[in-house]
Symmetry: C2
Subunit: 663 residues, 2 copies
């Protein structure tokens, strides 16, 4: 029977060898946290390597994702489908063992980590999802959702601002089943952190209402085990276990120094570490007793089997709830969802309202049908209009609600939503002003990279928000959203397109959707049945000329009605003008070439794009011969009407420019 | 002699009246913080309304910038050039009194605030700049730099993650002359904050090493005064004064509620508040005794005069230092700066090195000549190569250095740099990987909006960084930078263009500059003298065809050498190909139409842009008939060479696509 130290050394050896073979990577964190991981995974973690998707498994998040070899080693050793060959192809093209853990690349990777701090936020989201799902589905005598979220963080994660946002919220929400291990090794890339990181972290987390276990020797399995047991005994507060560790533990000349952090140790130091650790085995060779000591498949299967029988009893007692839970975990929409009908209804109703209000109406229609919607706003609910009539706040005492008051924490909200989506059982939506998308920007990218269904409600979408001025007026943000791979962005022009964008958002399971909405009222547009259907194609002819158009006006959102008015005036002047509404360039780009060319015929090169966002994006559609009426500067503080005039978003200006272009 | 309460009520009346007249705005914070502001401005703030640019003035930052009427009222009342008419045109086009305080719009606005938390970070930057400038220039018996930075923050600022980053760093750096007032009114937009903000803020700041004065009655001038005196007596730690206040104090039916936060009180409530506050005066009427009680001009002039004579004594004793300080405060470059010569030298030297290394060389050349350079990196110095040979870390004990270890705090770094730039005396530069620009993104926007000289060193600029994988590989980030108004972005193709980009960055005083640099080596390009000079035009013909080109290849950074090789191959096939290197689209767009058309003749419509960043940006230059070899997906984890092949950044692919296009 191998000792705990020997088991942990398997992680160390695999990590330093894989990094050495790849000629790049981070040996320091895996070698430093190996003992903590060994105790956690062998004595506590509830999981079944043969079924990485078991709904009630514990979640394990490596927020310091550069230590990816720690995770890959654990997955390999405990019996996941991560082979020795995979470890040997660490950081190579098409290998599941990427430089940082990439969700979907290998089984057992619960989230993509690397951008520091966000893993911790994902973990908070997972713990929150667990608590809410449990509150919604567990019944007396039937505890079917009951798992712990474990998270490793480094100094970097704790220096990042997002750690504040999410630790604060986790404390407020009393997420008792969240346990975080802080790898307190005193080293970051610039050197010893005492020059730039002197927080009393225990006191800080105490201030957030966490339960803190301080001064744990991260290389002493008994201390680690006792700390975890203490953490598990506190179920009314999240726990932080502060482990003193040595970065690169076992590498005799580099341990405890920044040299061990982010580069291969070098052949000599790897050899010296083998000696130091008394690990005589060849690179990538793990003796059978070590494998046996790690193998979690039998135990994991037994635990899952036990859960399955519990779930069967639950299904018998509460068949409807069990079906509903299964549906939600499978990420299926309710069969009877009426989101498409909403579009038609909106067209019939013909309201001229702000698209944020149309979004509120859509939420009020969809909310009752979709209990998996888990909403929120970063303290702008009355402006974002996200707290719909059936919204119920999640509180520490009653987690069964469907709405989280995120507070003024945009980045935290974004990354928590990613954790909620990854956990399963929910479709999170979260809101802020479009400009403050910037605060949460990298979390959108992570949702898109991981292909998670997260819905962003971004209101106050342009200078049209008026008096709050340049700091609050988006300019370049739409371009930022549209150039983010796998992020589907909508900027609807009226209540009808808004309903269509919500319909698209709830149906898009392969990635996030951003709804970009106006503060101000938007005129209703008339549409034929065909036009109505074409909204989902992302762009369509909203008004056509008889015969080939001489000019195409392309617009989105609040500028579509301007384009329509301008077209009417140009038509009165005898010009053949087509108006294309393009609520979603993402959707349009995914259409067949035939459809795209039917909307924007290559032969018509006289084109004007009109959008109160940055101009540059639109050259993609208007080319070198076209024009863009857009923003190239910041906005100003003034009533919206004044600003539209000031920046040239007027029928008059469109007509003038059109006539110049038509020559 | 009016009472303190009456003086404070002048702020309340002006604020509620201006918001009412504008029909939009935030009366709550100004009315709630009026008493604190009154004590601070009348008894402590060192300033001269007649010279808002006095170098040794105290700095006042309203981080909760939505309370802008508080600041405008103070500026008006104390004698700045902010008139009653200005207050009456609050939030109107071309008025200096914008919805949020906009730097440069009115005298006395030290920074643009609105995006929450960043004002606090600016204040930290200002306090740090003060401490460092003092350490560099004060001499025994000659204290010429000695001022306090005061900052107001609300619940929102303290919930934001950036508050953690900068408060932590301020504690580490022991910024004893920073005093922050927390408007602890228990209300945010969603309602009472106890549902989403339960931090023990005193304990939290204690954990950062701050001096905390808790439980101050924010409506009791004596308590406020005592708290400030206590704060001033602690000069080894930054101070947080936690003031219990009532939002919208004085509005009898709305005070203490979220209703008072962000909308006009309404005529009736304004009238009721007049009664409640015993303020019988007409809207915008301030009785003369109140004006007299506030007027700070005489006292301010006396203080500045006293400083002037101190400065004269300093100039006599230390003429060289005095001249140097004046130069730096005027934001003038040293006369003898040799940055242009660096470009020529780099061309002669002809090194094929990574542009981050070329940047390091530029820093080593410029650093000794520019003591105003105040560098740093968000814990990536060894990768960003920003800690040049003469760099000296700023520490709590010795602030005279020129380099700040920011720790893993990108957003904090960005907003602190803004504060340093606004303070004056420094040209800050700060570094991280390009992808983590996203974490600090809104601070770049604020620097650009405020027109501040801040230099960003963004290394690891594409899939070329290799194995760290998709989380670390920028795709859409270059587009985000390029579409940010007033941000000048450079992506140099070799050591020569890198030197040129540094030359441009240090000379650009009207806004920030982003240097986007490679991790990997870049081949040196040959250039004529004319080509060398044209680098500063942002784009230039690096290789021309004889006669009119049939095809133009446009490239930047690491892709320029690929374009050059492809052009050579195409030329061997008999094709007339021009290669345009475009290190800075921003600079190129600012050239005359003649120059632009000489580089990209409108008649040549067959164009291919090649950049390992998002493709969409480039349609602006290649139009509907051109092609872009760029990224439209995320990257992968693999050695850089493999990735360039995988994503089509090869000479072969360029040649193939060129031949397709040429038909």
């Amino acid at each position: 029977m191998p000792s705990r130290f020997e088991l942990a050394n398997a992680i160390r050896a695999l990590s330093m060898d894989a990094v050495q073979k790849a000629k790049s990577g981070h040996p320091g964190a895996p070698m430093g946290m190996a003992d903590i991981a060994e105790v956690l995974w062998n004595d506590f973690l509830k999981h079944n390597p043969s079924d990485p998707n078991w709904a009630d498994r514990d979640r394990f998040v490596l927020s310091n994702g550069h230590g990816s070899m720690l995770l890959y080693s654990l997955l390999h050793l405990t019996g996941y489908e991560v082979s020795l060959e995979h470890l040997q192809s660490f950081r190579q093209l098409h290998s599941p063992t990427a430089g940082h853990p990439e969700y979907g690349y290998a089984p057992g990777i619960e989230t993509t980590t690397g951008p520091l701090g966000q893993g911790l936020a994902n973990a908070v989201g997972m713990a929150l999802a667990e608590k809410t799902l449990a509150a919604q589905f567990n019944r007396p005598g039937h505890t079917i959702i009951d798992h712990t979220t474990w998270c490793f963080v480094g100094d970097g994660c704790l220096m990042e601002g997002i750690s504040h946002e999410v630790a604060s919220l986790a404390g407020t929400q009393e997420l008792g089943k969240l346990v975080v291990f802080y790898d307190d090794n005193g080293i970051s890339i610039d050197g010893e952190v005492e020059g730039w990181f002197t927080d009393d972290t225990a006191k800080r987390f105490d201030a957030y209402g966490w339960h803190v276990v301080s001064n744990v020797d991260g290389h002493n399995p008994n201390e680690i085990k006792a700390a975890i047991e203490l953490a598990k005994s506190h179920d009314d507060k999240p726990s932080l276990i502060i482990c003193k560790t040595v970065i690169g533990f076992g590498a005799p000349n580099k341990q405890g120094k920044e040299d061990a952090h982010g580069a291969p140790l070098g052949e000599d130091e790897v050899a010296a570490a083998r000696k130091e650790l008394d690990w005589p085995h060849a690179p990538f060779h793990i003796p059978e007793p070590i494998y046996s000591g790690w193998d979690a498949r039998t135990k994991g299967k037994a635990r899952q089997d036990e859960w399955k029988s519990r779930f069967e009893r639950y299904s018998a007692a509460f068949p409807e709830q069990a079906r509903e839970l299964k549906r939600r975990l499978k990420r299926q929409l309710p069969a009877e969802i009426t989101s498409e009908a909403l579009i038609e209804k909106a067209q019939e109703k013909g309201e001229s309202i702000a698209s944020r209000k149309a979004s509120f109406a859509a939420l009020n229609a969809l909310g009752p049908q979709m209990p998996e919607l888990l909403g929120g706003s970063a303290d702008l609910a009355p402006s974002n209009l996200t707290f719909w009539d059936g919204a119920k706040a999640i509180t520490p005492q009653d987690a069964s609600g469907n709405y989280l008051h995120y507070g003024v924490r945009e980045f935290g909200m974004g990354a928590i939503m990613n954790g909620i989506a990854l956990h399963g059982g929910f479709v999170p939506y979260g809101a802020t002003f479009l400009i403050f998308m910037e605060y949460m920007r990298n979390s959108l990218r992570m949702a898109a990279l991981m292909g998670q269904q997260v819905i962003y409600v971004f209101t106050h979408d342009s200078i049209g928000l008026g008096e709050d001025g340049p700091t609050h007026q988006p300019v370049e943000q739409l371009t930022s959203l549209r150039t983010t791979p796998n992020l589907c962005t909508w900027r609807p022009c009226d209540a009808v397109e808004t309903a269509a964008s919500w319909d698209a958002a709830i149906k898009r399971h392969s990635g996030p959707t951003a709804l970009v909405l106006s503060r101000q009222n938007l005129p209703h547009q008339a549409r034929t049945k065909e036009q109505l259907a074409n909204i989902q194609r992302g762009a369509y002819v909203l008004k056509d000329s008889s015969g080939t158009p001489a000019l195409i006006l392309i617009a989105t959102g609040s500028e579509v009605s301007l384009a329509m008015e301008a077209a009417a005036e140009l038509e009165a002047q005898g010009k053949a003008v087509r108006v294309v509404s393009m609520p979603s360039a993402y959707r349009f780009n995914g259409q067949s070439a035939d459809y795209r060319e039917s909307v924007l015929p290559p032969s018509v090169t006289k084109r004007i794009a009109i959008e109160a966002g940055h101009a540059d994006y639109w050259y993609k559609y208007v080319g070198l011969e076209g024009r863009v009426i857009g923003m190239t500067t910041y906005g100003e503080s003034a009533p919206a009407g004044d600003l539209f005039k000031h920046f040239g978003f007027t029928v008059e200006n469109i007509v003038t420019q059109a006539n110049e272009l038509l020559g």
